[in-house]
Symmetry: D2
Subunit: 402 residues, 4 copies
Amino acid sequence: MSNKRGGILERLDNGEVVIGDGGFVFALEKRGYVKAGPWTPEAVVEYPEAVKQLHREFLRAGSDVMQAFTYYASEDKLSNRGNTAQEKYGCTAINTAACRIAREVAQEGDALFLGGVCQTPTYLSGGDKASIQAIFRGQMQTFKAEGADLVLCEYFEHVEEAEWAIEVGLETGLPVACTMCIGPQGDMHGNSAGDCAVRMARAGAKLVGVNCHFDPFVTLEAIKLMKAGLERENLKAYLMCQPVAYMTPDAEKQGCIDLPEFPLAMESRLCTRWDMHRFARAAYDLGVRYIGGCCGFEAYHIRAIAEELAAERGRFPAGSEKHIAWGGGMKMSTKPWIRARSGRDYWENLNPASGRPYSAAMSRPDNWGVTRGSEMLVQHAHETTEEEDNRVKQLGQQMRKK
Amino acid sequence: MSNKRGGILERLDNGEVVIGDGGFVFALEKRGYVKAGPWTPEAVVEYPEAVKQLHREFLRAGSDVMQAFTYYASEDKLSNRGNTAQEKYGCTAINTAACRIAREVAQEGDALFLGGVCQTPTYLSGGDKASIQAIFRGQMQTFKAEGADLVLCEYFEHVEEAEWAIEVGLETGLPVACTMCIGPQGDMHGNSAGDCAVRMARAGAKLVGVNCHFDPFVTLEAIKLMKAGLERENLKAYLMCQPVAYMTPDAEKQGCIDLPEFPLAMESRLCTRWDMHRFARAAYDLGVRYIGGCCGFEAYHIRAIAEELAAERGRFPAGSEKHIAWGGGMKMSTKPWIRARSGRDYWENLNPASGRPYSAAMSRPDNWGVTRGSEMLVQHAHETTEEEDNRVKQLGQQMRKK
Amino acid sequence: MSNKRGGILERLDNGEVVIGDGGFVFALEKRGYVKAGPWTPEAVVEYPEAVKQLHREFLRAGSDVMQAFTYYASEDKLSNRGNTAQEKYGCTAINTAACRIAREVAQEGDALFLGGVCQTPTYLSGGDKASIQAIFRGQMQTFKAEGADLVLCEYFEHVEEAEWAIEVGLETGLPVACTMCIGPQGDMHGNSAGDCAVRMARAGAKLVGVNCHFDPFVTLEAIKLMKAGLERENLKAYLMCQPVAYMTPDAEKQGCIDLPEFPLAMESRLCTRWDMHRFARAAYDLGVRYIGGCCGFEAYHIRAIAEELAAERGRFPAGSEKHIAWGGGMKMSTKPWIRARSGRDYWENLNPASGRPYSAAMSRPDNWGVTRGSEMLVQHAHETTEEEDNRVKQLGQQMRKK
Amino acid sequence: MSNKRGGILERLDNGEVVIGDGGFVFALEKRGYVKAGPWTPEAVVEYPEAVKQLHREFLRAGSDVMQAFTYYASEDKLSNRGNTAQEKYGCTAINTAACRIAREVAQEGDALFLGGVCQTPTYLSGGDKASIQAIFRGQMQTFKAEGADLVLCEYFEHVEEAEWAIEVGLETGLPVACTMCIGPQGDMHGNSAGDCAVRMARAGAKLVGVNCHFDPFVTLEAIKLMKAGLERENLKAYLMCQPVAYMTPDAEKQGCIDLPEFPLAMESRLCTRWDMHRFARAAYDLGVRYIGGCCGFEAYHIRAIAEELAAERGRFPAGSEKHIAWGGGMKMSTKPWIRARSGRDYWENLNPASGRPYSAAMSRPDNWGVTRGSEMLVQHAHETTEEEDNRVKQLGQQMRKK
């Protein structure tokens, strides 16, 4: 470990607040390098400079850990429903390229880098433990070989699969972190958030928590339950939190993916930097010590976390060179009424309008309640057929009528 | 001119629809390379790779013109209210670097590149025509020297200053385009949108229109009035439209900069790609032939324009490699209810919720009504003083009470 | 004229502000005595005590004029589309009963009473002037015979029919007032609001203005245009304004009847008493001297007008016995946080929430654009047939798709 | 008991759904006969015809029980904070007059009548059980003497006071019903909704449930908890539900009185008749057999309940003479697009817009958390002093800042 501040556990044990990065699939989709729908990361091979640039933005914003862009880089996902990335590049090449990019940028700063695995189509399709662990093992071996500082098991909707991933992660000898994409209602098998935390910690994860699917504030409600679960069982694990940067007060059990706006019309739910100040403070006060983001989080959101916690961390991020905290830059505007908008009091108390008088504040989530075991979740390599397409659309109309 | 499709006028004369790019200051501020408040583009010198990457995203999304990042790169702005960019780098170096980056990326595709000038602090401070034109001339000479395909005079709130800029632009011998940041209520001196178009065309601009300050749909209302003005006077000029990507139905005369959310809490107003489909179609139907974006426009917004007009343009953008039109990629989702969200019918009819039940749909704009001639608009090189700061804040509170 | 303060013109000539009453059809529909759809006033015969009670509430709230409940009491409307009121009671009996109730209550205070006519189904069906005037004449003769202090021609969407009504009104020798249900976009034949005012005044109306279809603030925009029209032609007429008590910023040419919530789900648009304070002040400042209400206005809305203008009128209404201005009664609450809600500053600055996070702020109006001359507006005595019903519903679905 | 359908328990035991009435204080305040703030019912002496008319509207709408207007008619409330009603009329005269009016109207139909007591200022001030029961006893004796069919203890925020009221009610020998103004979070002393139900039933109430403070749907959540509490303890009591007619998704523990709009700007939260159809169905399905309303409920809301349950009750209310279910009357409109709005499909699926684009969907409740025992809740006979007034206003500003 060549980092000045040490490995992840050393940093945490020293009482540091570790800042994560933001969301790669959403940011790179908007920039044109990731396809919405499959969301697989073959861009690391195809457009490495674009991926590297995004890492650099997060590093500059204050991220302490570069998360290699290995999301959904499992061989079953890379060949699911017509995806050709497995065939073209292969799982190992993608995971390797992702690690190298992350490592390179990490070394430009004093950052760590991690490799991550997540929920597999095979699990949703009802695959057995051995075959699923084999998938994870392939990726994990790459992470280890490329020198990752830790491994992350993330975005699990069922704690069972998370446990399987942690088991494989431990084989690497690296510290293992694990976050599930659940909210206060718990996982899709009916396990409470508290029980999920307990099971992740018992399985060997040193950091446990939540990523994706819910907004920062709903996510912290789930983390509260996790913390209580760990305390109840006298388990020690660091808390980790990487929510989406979209407001989801109307999401229910399965989070933002159930909202009708997901994923291609989420804009009006996007969090401001001021929301992130509030989030960072609340997460810190709750005891979360790995604070980052997921879908929707861009560099300026991460920078807001780093600025909010600058006193606790003893430093501002490099990117604050171009950002005066709490809108102080407004004093340099040519327009006097905009100069009047500098300062915390102004931005902290603003309730931003939507500009959409024909839209509501909330949507009814889809709530199909379909999970592992459902025939509709069985995945396949060929493209979605027209018959399948018609069937889900009819079902969608029926569900919305209810 | 080495471009296969010819220069800007050749393309337009051939009936092509030219697609512009998106907003650099907002995108790069979020990425960490531009400071909100002064909004000056010294990043072209400091972080050229980051600027280049953004150009590449727009090129890939379908932009036909790379707009060199010279916004606010006038010497008076680079040294205004404590800005040190003029002192550190100088105006010429910045304009030169911006042109070279834009040119390099343009040549990677079949794109043109332009250099632009905009509203000066000197004008707002009441400076005379000669001194203002001298500022423009400095920038324009750089554009010419670096081989720009056209020059753009943009973001003017007073048609008088726009005319002065056009005059200088014509000295280069290059085609001159001119867009003002006005809405249907016209410019800050009380000139109607129609009259502004007439004056820009008479001054020699071959393309006239609107950029910034208003959302796509309000902007098109202004363009309609400009078109009527030109027709009334039998003037021929191509129409150009580069609005912000934020919904501003509540903006009044001075547009989105008067809205209380501007500039650091505009997120919930952000347009979706589907809004841009509607915009592109409406702009095309109105006869606009240079369609691009300003603040808030990211690559995926530009790609949406290019996809909407793919039939008219005879091609999809390179970036559509990673985007199946109208959410077709959803068919590759592992979740059946998300697969049900593919297709135009779904996305076109969605009214996206804000996720913010404690926020309103609209805000009251500040509407200070301060413009050229006001003592509060007189700019200076030193930082805004504490006394000035207190004064504008008090004024702000009074104005909001009304 | 036995009233202490004289007839309507005497009062107005003396500089008084005359306060009208509120909406009978909406209030009595909610109380159970008027049928939504036909909206005819046979309750004056069937439930005279209920009608009288409503008059008394308005009188107590400050109304200076009791408006006999003769709305839609024309023989063609009383027998339209299955309505049996004409057959059961007859037009004359209804108009007579309405006048007597209004007169009785008016005499309990120092109020005047008026009889009113409004838009006829015969006009919409394309009937000729003579037959339409014959309908008005029948009603007007009853008003005259029952001792009305003035006649009102109201709720006209076409100024032509308004003129015909005024002509007949003048035959009574009583002062004639005339209000159209139009907004700033003018009447359904394309006459501007200003021209409508001019034509009403030239036809002989001493008071002209607007009632129904738009909220107080949109209505005042139309009144402004009317005032300008009268001034342009050097015509003198008092301005009269009786808007609906529902917020309609999204209404277009034909007003609130085009909004999808009309008439049975308008609740969330209902104005507060504080809206009426603002309305009364703005109307007064504009020079309106007959200020009342239409659909949705209840006694407390009228009382708010009377309280706002108490200084100008030299008196508070009787009903202020039970109302301390600007929420002063809150000081008598048992709960301290409610006691904190007394006073103008609190209520004037409150933006009331809707409590409906799944609803938008605005709706798209139907805008069928159907008016006099359309075959779909031809009325008949028999009930709407199933075939007609199906046809309009299909058409409705088509229009909403657009 | 001369009623054809028997007393309240006979009806309920026979499986009938009993429909209550709506809210007197809010309706009569708007009509001009009750003062907002103290909300005491001396109108029964001052304006008996106005009170009688409101009873008749509810009777006609389908109410089976006339609730004598005795709300807050306790001697301590009638003389609280400057209220002179006790001095002028006295508690007994007011309770007697209220009973006589209710009885008279009940006899016009086949309705029952009840007298009710509610939360006392003395309890909030910390008074002892004996003095509070003495207050209830005075009122109850009047109800008994005037021939009430049952007594109701309602609007209690603390189950302790509810029990004390029930005890006194049982002394009359009449059936006792008891409803608290609580939501799913339980009473102000921290008792759960389920425990409150158990304690009310154990104290002897034959009907238990909730009235006021929450909207129909939140209220049913509390009733669900009450039902579960009763089942857990094997207690039998009929469920009773009389919510406010205002949407309160944002209310917290103390309900709508904490919302900043309460009580003088609640308009935009008002429920439609279609909301009441949904409420009636959901309440019936949950097993509630006494379904009525509180503040905001007008006759047409009660009629909607009676129409929704017409099949179960075997009859439509008298008032349906003037109301064709599900907007059927629209078929009689002269306008075709309004005729297209008849039928359940249209109204049931409408999300009504607020017409207020500058307002949010939700508000932050005051949540002072002040309850019995707080010095600020100590009541007194003299008017609120200026010093007290200033103190609560300062406190209000502080609380809102948080």
